[in-house]
Amino acid sequence: MNALTIAIQDSTTMLGRELKHTLRFPLLLVSTILVPVVMLMLFDYILGGPIGHGLGDAAHGASYVDFLVPGILLLTVAAGCGPAAINVHTDMAGGFIDRIRTMAVTRGALLAGHVGGSVVRTLGAAVVVTLVALVVGFRPKATLGDWFAVFGIVAAFSFALAWLSAALGLVAKTVAGANGSTLPIQFLLPFLSSTFVPAASMPAGVRWFSENQPFTPVVESLRALLTGAPVGSTTCLALAWCAAIALGGYLWAQAAFRRGVGERM
């Protein structure tokens, strides 16, 4: 076996462990589903009327729920950050990590397992959330190819945010801190993007931020794909953001992993 085969094998083993953890302790998965579903209900049933009216041309003639659901999918991806950070942090605080470190296990396998597990969890949650959305009246106009693209973007964004969350989980001092540090990703960034309302409707300063932060091109891509609108270059921008966040998160996480485990008494 060469090093790459072993690395893949070790990462797969760690992924299996992470998925088993999710099944044994499903609370974190439930929260990943519950938060976007509650937001869906809140924005569709309670806030959706006036927002839908105000939306006007921005919805391209679609109903507000069709505008909203791509944003809710984004929110689902963001909601996966909390569990990812918590799980990584919990692992580093326990004795198990020391056992792994005294074995000839591929160095990055543990984090790779966490990131892979987070992506699988998020995709599962996204499927459930999409089904709920269909029940409450979401009527996508996506082709099969569009759906594959949606799946790909959700997976890519989830992958990127999972590396970032892993880093946040590693540098956090407590479990609560691990979760807390992901809250801006989970809530602030989605609200300050075109997740719920178009960026164009925001005050100047916020609008500038909203138009230039990663969540907006991602949600615009999903929205275009799901409502059958022309996709344009926004998807390229979205994928570029994913790549940048993934790379930054990966490097940060690797450095934090080395530092975090290096000098514990």
Binding site: M1, I6, Q9, D10, T13, R17, K20, H21, R24, F25, G94, G95, F96, D98, R99, I100, R101, T102, M103, A104, V105, V261, G262, E263, R264, M265
Partner: protein, 319 residues
């Protein structure tokens, strides 16, 4: 050590001049150790002596600040990967995965060791049997007792049949029966020819299990040898007599010339094996008007070893 080069007693571990500091605190201050292949070696010392730090350095978890350490011929710093292939470590804190069952824990370790599928199953079943964990196979460690958890921990350590095992305080926190079980586990491993480095705070444990003991105090090895060697260096058992006044102490000291007096505490320590006959003999030599406030029989324990070997003569003075 003069047996370093002989093949029959090759060193599983050789440590020289090992140093480690955390901030300003010197944890290891030039430790030298040689552990021969196939022996059980105990690092004996109180909390904070540096036992765990030695284990963590030897098991590649932390780097030393100075000195060299080789495990099975490999430098722990430069050839960490090679070291990790031959060692097994059971740390002081549980290293089991609490969300996986006992069986899944073993399977996980086996997969990370890249055992072939058939061997993976066979070894898992064998270890569950060996460590009396069969009934716990399908349960998660959250429901285990302390002893059961420790047994699973050691079973996981043995999954890859390591040649050298580090056991950091393997019986701390266990009830007496679990401690006995753990001792038997260690004896069985030793009988199989596995080299074992164990740390302990208990003299009795080191005495029961170890071929050789190194006594560690504040980052120094203060004594090293077989259990009998060390016991030969212990202060003898004695009777401790405390008197009501200086006059009584003076009188008793005249009668019991082999005693050591402590004027400040009005105490006289008389060497004695603690037997009834010799005790009666000592008492018979005291006159009736000597006012003895208190009598206690003192047999040597780990504290005595420390106080004897670290140059601190009286533990009463320090407590």
């Amino acid at each position: 050590m003069n047996a370093m080069t002989s093949d029959a007693t090759r060193n599983a571990v050789s440590v020289s001049g090992l140093r480690k500091t955390y901030g300003k605190k010197v944890v290891l201050d030039g430790v030298d150790l040689d552990i021969h292949e196939g022996e059980v070696f105990a690092l004996l010392g109180p909390n904070g002596a540096g036992k765990t730090t030695i284990v963590r350095i030897l098991s590649t978890l932390i780097p030393a600040d100075g000195g060299t350490a080789r495990v099975m011929g490999h430098d722990v710093r430069r050839e960490a990967a090679a070291v990790r292939k031959v060692i097994g470590v059971t740390g002081q804190f549980s290293a089991v995965d609490n969300l996986l069952t006992g069986e899944e824990n073993l399977l996980l370790i086996g997969r990370l060791l890249h055992l072939p599928a058939t061997e993976l199953r066979a070894r898992t079943a064998q270890l569950l049997q060996l460590f009396d964990l069969v009934e716990l196979t399908k349960r998660t460690p959250a429901t285990y007792s302390g002893g059961e958890k420790r047994r699973l921990d050691i079973a996981m350590t043995l999954m890859g049949r390591p040649k050298l095992i580090f056991l950091d305080e393997p019986t701390t926190g266990l009830d007496p029966r679990s401690r006995q079980t753990m001792w038997q586990v260690i004896r069985d491993l030793a009988a199989d020819g596995v080299t074992i480095l164990l740390t302990t705070q208990y003299l009795e444990e080191a005495d029961q299990l170890a071929d050789r003991i190194a006594l560690l105090d504040r980052g120094h090895v203060v004594a090293e040898g077989t259990p009998d060697d060390l016991k030969g260096r212990l202060p003898g058992a004695h009777i401790r007599l405390r008197f009501a006044d200086a006059a009584s102490l003076d009188e008793a000291a005249r009668e019991l010339r082999d005693g050591t007096r402590d004027d400040q505490d009005l105490v006289l320590r008389v060497p004695n094996d603690g037997g009834i006959r010799s005790l009666r003999d000592v008492l018979a030599r005291l006159r009736d008007d000597v006012a003895v406030e208190d009598l206690s029989i003192h047999t040597p324990d780990l504290d005595d070893v420390f106080f004897a070997l670290t140059g601190n003569t009286s533990k009463e003075q320090t407590t």
